[in-house]
Symmetry: C2
Subunit: 234 residues, 2 copies
Amino acid sequence: MTGGRPAPTGSAAGLREQKKQRTRAALLRTALEFFTTKGYEETTVDEIAEAVEVSQRTFFRYFANKEKAAFAVQEMMEHHFVEALRARPAEEGPFDALRNSVLGTWDTIGEALTEVVPVDVYLRMLQVIESSPTLLAAHLRRSFEMEEYIARLIADREGLDVEADPRPRVAVASFGGVMRVTGQLWVQGKDASLDALRSLTVSYLDHLTPALATNWRETAPSEAHRSAGGANRA
Amino acid sequence: MTGGRPAPTGSAAGLREQKKQRTRAALLRTALEFFTTKGYEETTVDEIAEAVEVSQRTFFRYFANKEKAAFAVQEMMEHHFVEALRARPAEEGPFDALRNSVLGTWDTIGEALTEVVPVDVYLRMLQVIESSPTLLAAHLRRSFEMEEYIARLIADREGLDVEADPRPRVAVASFGGVMRVTGQLWVQGKDASLDALRSLTVSYLDHLTPALATNWRETAPSEAHRSAGGANRA
DNA sequence: TTGTCAATTGTCAGTCGCTGTCACTAGCCT
DNA sequence: AGGCTAGTGACAGCGACTGACAATTGACAA
């Protein structure tokens, strides 16, 4: 990409690229700002574009659709989560790995997106998502797709075949289901803090973990249930 | 509003009502026909309206949006399922009740909608739903809302408080998750028959049932896991 | 039968999300 | 310097959906 020419601005390569990043960041910041204050449906793409002093067409050049802007941060977090899951020690049971990855992601949430948007905007955006029918639907579909991906990850680390053994998918589906329930309850509750979300998750997860097998390597598929335990608290 | 009108609901009340029913049925039939042959996104509301010889505006007077038409039959099935669940004997464990209600609903699927659309249109519509991003998202949101409702039903029949005890929601979420996974796999598979869907469900459900408690009345919330068994096969 | 009321519907205009096209400007490269 | 091309704005257009208003038509009473 970069030729032999001295970069006038120093850090990033190309002035063009910088401008692009700035435009994208501005669009995203403005969009989330509007979404979290006026509401998603109440915000038009035209408004966002106008606020950033860009044509509507340009907005759609950066975000395939309005939704994409709403989930941009969420997307980062998911990527973060997947990396955390990949980094989990192989000895850890699938459920503990999932659990620890989520909690770990939330514990480092700040560092992960400080440059993009303030944490409280992210949290408020979560609430917007849960309360807008359109966004909720999109969120669930995204989760669904994510679950398929994660199921394959889990199957890999356990050395199983996703198509042959139902347990990875079943486990991830259960896990995802619980995560969604907690998200919903968090929004409905009065405490909209990160701590509240975190402890709600821990609490609900604790009710599912003991009900599903901890170590698949020592049990046959048909009797995959044991005494639980082994979830290392944060 | 309405004074002493004749039979408001019943079967044959007023010529006006008949016409309305006929229009609605025609719109629905045509819509599903188009959706299942041309695809959802590829079908225009204008097309549907034109085929029924009605203005586009009228379509939207019968169906709040395009989606509503796509899920009209699904809505009936859900109603059917809920009734089945309500009718389940109180002694039955929550999971068995859910399982038997689903299977029961599918076994009587024919009688439930013969008058509306042929069964194969319903099945093809399921495939359309799973394969259209828009419809999949809507489907998942509907399922999510349904789960909340069912969780309350389950809590009631077990004499629990949904807000206090996480188990109803967790169980229903898990159950729903498995149902969705099977739906997805069914669409991806080659056998698009009702039998295939049914047996896939049975198979996957059997992997979850033994992993979750069967009888909550005999176990404390914190140790809700036992030896499984007790799922009465169909 | 006829007139009145109210429900249904069609027509029209307009909003909003989103896409294709095309010309134009401004970084980038040689 | 001059050509190339990425990025953008302006414009037109499609499809889902809504509000408003007028025309139609079934329901009911005089």
